[in-house]
Structure formats: C-alpha cells, structure tokens
Amino acid sequence: MKPFDIVVVGGGGAGLYAAMEAMKTNPSLNIAVLSKVYPNRSHTSAAQGGANAALANKAKDDTVEMHVFDTIKGSDYLADQDAAEVLCSEAPKIIRELDNIGTPWSRMDDNTIAQRPFGGAGRPRCCYCADKTGHTILQTLYEQCLRKGVFFFNEYFVLSLSVDDSRMKGLIAMNMRTGKIEAFRARTVIFATGGYAKMYWNRSSNAAGNSGDGQAIAYRAGIPLKDMEFVQFHPTGLRKSGLLVTEGARGEGGYLINIKGERFMNRYAPEKMELGPRDLVSRSIETEILEGRGFDSPAGQYINLDLTHLGADLIKSRLPQIREMSMYFEGVDPIEEPIPIRPTAHYSMGGIDTDIYGRTPMDGVYAAGEAACVSVHGANRLGGNSLLEILVFGRIAGHTAAEEAGRFDPGEISRQELEASEHELREFMKPSGHYERYGALREELGQTLAVNVGIFREAPKIEKGIADVRELKERFRHVRVFDTSDVFNTNLIQVLELQNMLDLAETVALGAYAREESRGSHTRTDFPKRDDENWHKHTLCTWENGKAVLGEKPVTMGKYELQERTY
C-alpha cells in the first residue's frame, strides 16, 4: 500500500476534526482514519452536557479570560496555562464553526446559540444540543468527513506503532473483518483513541471499548504518558450500571439528597451547591455514603438525584435522554421519583504527553483529545471542557500534522514485523492445560482499582492495588482466546483491550502512589493537603525495557498565581 501522509487512529470527535482540518490545510495529502468501530459509534456520542465557550450569548459579561481562570482553578492549578489559553480562546470560534457546518445547537429566544450553567464555571457558558450534544457533534463531523471524502478504514484494530531507532515508520493493524494483519506506512500518526477509564470496568460510565488503546500503544513504543493518576469520578452515575446522568441535570436545577432528606452539598460547597466541580461533588457523595447517610439497596449504596421539582415539561424538553436512561436502566421515571446515583469513573485527565500543537516527544507522532494530555484539565476537568478539548486540539493536531508531514519519510515495515504480530495473536489461541478467563481478570481489575485507586486513596491501599495489577498482568499471560476464527473475532479484540487496560492500570496506580498530596481528582487520605512545594508538577511514566519508570515535568505557569481552591 502507498504510504499515507497522515493516519489518524480513532474516529471520535478529535480524530474526525483532525482529519477534516488536515484536509482543509492541505487538500493534496493522503489521509486515512483507522477506527475499531464505525466513527459514528465513537464514545463522543455519549457526551450529553455540552461544550464551554465564552460566546457571551447568555451572560453578556462573560469573557475568555474568565473561562481560562475557571479552567485553571478547576484543574487545581495543574493545567499548563498556555494550553488553557489556547483552549478557551479558540472555543468561541470552534463552536461557531460547528454551527456553520450543521450542528443543531439549542437556541435561545433571540435565535442565538443557547448556553447553560455548568459545574465550576463562573458564567453560564456551556453550549448544548438538549442532552445529546456529543452525539450531534459527532454526527456533524462524520457527515463533513464523508462530504470531504476522508478515507476511512472502519473496524481496524491497531496493534502497534512500528518504530526503528525511535523513528516512526507507521502502524500495524488488524482488519477485524478478515483477521488480516496489515501495515500502514505513514509519515505521521495522530492518536485520538479516547480515554482509559473503562479499566474501572463496572464502576465506569465509559463505553466497553474505552480501553486506552492509543495510550497503551504509544507507551509501549516509548512515548511517555503524563498525569495518569488523575481519573475523574463523575458524581452522578446510575447505581446499577455506572452509566452517566449528565451534569446538565444539576445545571437545570437538580438536587442531591441524602437519606435524611438534606441537600447535603451545603456542607461542602455552600455557594455553588450541586454545581461545585466534579471532584468535590464526588467526594461529598462518597463521604455521605461512607458516613452512613446514603440509601441502601442490593445493588449497593446510593444517593438521590432529585429532579421532581423541575416539572414534567422541563425534564421532557431538556433532559429527554436522562429520563429514558433512568427508566431503562433503573426503572425510575425522574418526573415522579428521584434517580439513585453514585460516583462513577468517567474521564481520564492523563494521557499521551503532548505540547500545545499536539506533538508528542516522538517525531511524526501526535495525539489529541482524551487520549492526550496537553494538559488543559490538570488534576480535574471541568464539565463542558472535554468536548471542547477534543474539538480544539483535534483541529490543532490535524493542522500541525498536515504542515509537518512533509518532513518525515515513511520507513519500510518488514514482513517479519507483521509475522511477529500475527504470531503473538495466535499464541493466545493455543490450547494449554491451565488458562485464565479474561472476563474474570477484567472484573477483578475494575474491582481493585475502584477500591484501592478510587476516589479516596492511601499508601497501603495503593500498594495493594499495584500488587494486584501486577498479579493480574502475570495471570494475563495465561489468558486463552477460544474463538479461533479470522472473521470478526471479538473474543480476541476484548483480550487485546484488556491487555491495554492492564498496562495502563499500572501507570495509574504508580502515579497515584508517587503523588503524595491531594490535588483535584487525586485524593490521598494520608496526604490530605495540596503540596505545591513538592508536587506542583506533572508526572511522566515511560516504558523502559518492559518496566514503568516514573519521571516528572514542570507545569507551565502564566498570569495566574497559585491559590487555594475553594468553591
């Protein structure tokens, strides 16, 4: 196959925007998008709430500076300030651009794009399409990519980055339809594969495939991962499934109620109440539950999210999906009863280390979106900033790759490399006496992470977590794939995803162990204070000869000084 100028891995919001922008930057380039699902299935579709931008449609005094400050404060000062500046100043432009190409943003009475309040934001600046924002953005981008004739390789699972002496030559991927291992020679590669929070398995709101494939592939190729310990727990996951109830439900005025009937957020964030930042609200709920003020049920303890006072009309018009989900998955109609919720692993702030142009430390390799860590979210992401990030930095990465593709020559990917890959996969299918069930490992991984590297962390627990993950990695070597067919072998795919999650889980636990402070989503009960003197820095995790090695990187500061973070 002819070498590609750009291969985008992942067809969600970041990947599609990157492809679209790259085509716009240089229409003569040969661009491909590889995705393990049809792009319109990507997890971007599940983002309900919206995307922040200081359009000042709703609050006339909103400014980009205020958005920057909210983002930096929300990040607990771990965000790089230059990155946050880029994010927020590009925001209005990108929202309007999406409007220009067909995104059905909800409107206000004056026909401008509607905005609503969101957690941790000083002004109502979250632009939305009812509670299907991510879905409609993804559809729009997919439509435009089809219009522009982007070349899609749907249902391809990327196995590895082909690298010679730290020079990237392209990708090795499996065509899921045929089982064939194929080489994709490329001048540049953009990873836009989404997050890794599914490693918390049943305690995660993520799609089944959010296994951090891109991060794991980059990591094993020697590219450092940044701030992996920061995993955001969304305050309101459905009790039984971990599926998400959007922050929009609180933005529209929902209350959090404990068993005593109290709106307990007045103890934790008296000013912002339910609209405090996510990490704080999650900890508050968890504390209520731990201190015995939660509700009991066979499916675990929970807290109520009460929308009944909002009335049927508002719930039906603004939160239709939430109502549907509550009914499908909890058997509760939020018009009549409160929704049982508890925090759920939702978003990975950490990811592939990139600069503000989307470049990773390896030449020709870029990353964007949840797969990357620029970092704009630092220790805690604000609601409405993730959709924004995938759009802004997806676009930037696409632009950078298009500009720089000419600098790199695609190397040859040898037959031996492909054969080695194939051999590795076949090994999983070999019958042997003792074998492990991948389903069991996956569940155990989620369990140990939720308990030991969850919302509240401390040294002995994390040590246990690290030991558990390493033991699971050992046991993984005996996992057996029973489906030996070539065509659409989902058994094999799930095992490969588990492998990626296991490799990343170790970096999460190691980061959590090293960081002896509490910052944003990372709460160490044995180090309850933020420690700017020793820990105002990013952690880096690099794979060296099969071992995870921790390093660090300074935070880029700007005009905002370190302050205590209160709401």
């Binding site: 579709s45 432009k93 799609a207 599926l243 999906q321 989900m325 794939v481 029973f482 659409f488 989902t490």
Partner: protein
C-alpha cells in the same frame, strides 16, 4: 438485605450463529442462563460470551442506547440489545421462555449477529447526508447563524437518529430492493433539506426523486414503528415528497404524478380510479408499451384480469372534504399555538 433480592429465572436465548469460514448456512444455538430482573438483552449476551461461549459474536459499545452498535432482531423485531429488558421480551416469546436473537436484515451478513454497515454509509454519501454550508469556508467560525425555534423544531427530532439501522432492517422495500434509499437516509436527507444553513437542497432532491428514491416507499410505517428513538420517520418521507412536488416543481416524475392522481381521485370521488391510474402515472405510451404486453400474456395464460370497475363518486364526499379541511386547519392552528 436478603429480602430485597431481585427476581431471578432461567431464560433461554436462541442465538443465530454463522461463521463464514466454516458454516454453509446460519443455524441457532440455545443458551440457557440465570437472569436477574432488570437485565438487558445485551447484558445477557455479554454474560453468555464471558461465561458460556466466548465465540458468540456481536457488536456493542456504549451500552447506553446512544452509539447504535447493538442493533439486532429480538423476537423478530429490530431494536437495540442494550435498551431491551429481558423481562419485557419474555412476554413476547413465541416459544415460552425462549428469546430469539438474530442479526439485522437487509444488510450483508458477516458473522453471528454482525452485519455489514457499509451500504448505509455509501447511501449517506450518495444522498449528500450533510450540510453543505452556505458560509464560505474561509469565513467559518466568525459568526453563528441565527436559527428560529420554528426551523429548529423541523429537524430537532431527526437529529436523534443514531444510525442503528433498525428501520432499515424492518423496511419492506429494502427487503425487495437493496438499492432503495432506505428510511434512515430519507430521514437524514429531509433533516438537511429543511436546514437553512444548507445550500445543496436541489442537488440532494434531484437524487432523491430518481429511481430507488423517495417515491419507492409504500407507507408501511414499519420504520417509524420500529425506530428506537421514536422518530416520526414517515413525516420526513412525506416532507421530501411534498417538497419535491410543491416547492421544487419536481412534478415530472412518475412518483409525483402517481401521488397527484391519488389526491385527485380521492378529492373528487372518494375512491381510487384504477383504470386510468397507469396512464396518469406513466403516460399513454409507457402504458401501451409495458402494460399491454403483460395483459396480453396474462390472457394467454388464462389469468385474465377482471375489467377495471367503473368508479362512482362516494356519497357526501364533497361535504366530507369541506369538513375535513376545516378541521385540519383548526388542528394546525392549535399546534402552532402549542409550540409557542
């Protein structure tokens, strides 16, 4: 908390299996597993894959009813596995306690419950299922379009579509003709047509009124009945037709003439005048050339069609029309008030 325990029972899932590498044709495998009340069909399939048979293949991703991956036929009806409760399906089983799970129809079969979605994507491209913005690319991002509530309402519901292809699987036309545009594509096409930001209505319409396009639909309403997001797909189909006839003057297609002939007959007589329908739809030349030989052949095979009946006007049709138009005028007025 023992007394809170959810109801459990053993349920059999009869899953269609097919591996093109070894099987000549599809067959069914039965899996009987313990199921708790409140579990979805997708979770049951996950359980089967993890605990009973890892080779059962199906697509699944978000598991929350928004990505559209897990479209499949459950007890004969196309829907999403992840939003379908096992307990609800138990009431619909043909064989008691056996839930039948099959792949979507009308798309090429790949393996077990997996079908090829490429034909859908190809049709999205063929019918320009995108907004081709009236804003020049160089000026994008500078300002937003102002969009009134009335316009937004026109396509709001259509943007709920998650392309799960359930409607395509149930579509009776697609079953007969794989080239047919398909309901989801018509829905999306109409959503683009009524969007004031789009500048390619005419090109899209010219494709939609061609063969295999909007006029092939026979109003069976299966798409709308099956839509997992309860989108009124038929409204979009009618919308495109109206659009084609009224505003874009695309009356010169057999589909449009056929519809007009229906309208005319019902308005005048309250009944269809079938005898002259082919002539009015396709013209005298076409009718003589295509239908006369067929009629002749039928006569030769002693399958003589009965002579077309003479159609008399129904009694009171004029009065009924008047009352009906007054009523529909009132309903439309009320709808408008309600939207405000």
């Amino acid at each position: 908390m023992g007394e809170h325990k959810e109801e459990m029972r053993d349920v059999t899932f009869r899953v269609l299996r097919f591996n093109p590498q070894v099987d000549n044709k599809p067959y069914f495998d039965d899996y009987t597993i313990p199921v708790e009340k409140g579990i979805t069909v997708l979770r049951a399939l996950n359980y089967i894959k993890e605990h009973v048979d890892p080779t059962v293949s199906f697509r699944a991703f978000c598991q929350a009813g928004i990505c559209g991956s897990c479209g499949m036929r459950i007890n004969g009806i196309s829907k999403l596995g992840c939003t379908t409760q096992v307990w609800d399906e138990l009431e619909k089983c043909k064989v008691p306690n056996v839930i039948k799970v099959e792949p979507l129809r009308n798309m090429p079969h790949i393996k077990d419950l997996i079908v090829d979605m490429d034909p859908m994507v190809e049709k999205m491209k063929k019918y320009s299922n995108w907004v081709e913005s009236t804003m020049p690319e160089s000026r994008m991002g500078e300002k937003e379009f102002l969009i009134a509530e009335e316009e937004f309402q026109e396509y709001d519901k259509a943007t709920d579509c998650i392309l799960c292809a359930s409607c395509m699987s149930e579509c009776s036309i697609l079953r007969a003709n794989k080239e047919y545009v398909a309901p989801a594509i018509l829905l999306k096409s109409h959503r683009m047509n009524v969007d004031s930001r789009d500048g390619s209505h005419d090109r899209r319409m010219s494709e939609l009124v061609k063969d295999h396009g909007v006029w092939d639909c026979t109003h069976c309403y299966r798409c709308q009945e099956t839509c997992v997001k309860s989108i009124p797909i038929m409204d979009a189909i009618h919308g495109i037709r109206e659009d084609a006839m009224v505003t874009r003057g695309a009356k010169d297609t057999s589909g449009a003439r056929h519809a007009e002939a229906f309208m005319e007959d019902i308005a005048k007589k309250g009944k269809l005048v079938e005898a002259t329908l082919p002539i009015r739809t396709n013209g005298i030349g076409w009718t003589l050339k295509n239908l006369l030989p067929m009629a002749f052949k039928m006569v030769m095979k002693r399958r003589t069609p009965p002579p077309p009946p003479f159609v008399k006007s129904s009694k009171g049709i004029k009065k009924f029309r008047e009352e009906f138009s007054e009523m529909s005028g009132r309903v439309k007025g009320e709808q408008k008030d309600h939207k405000k």
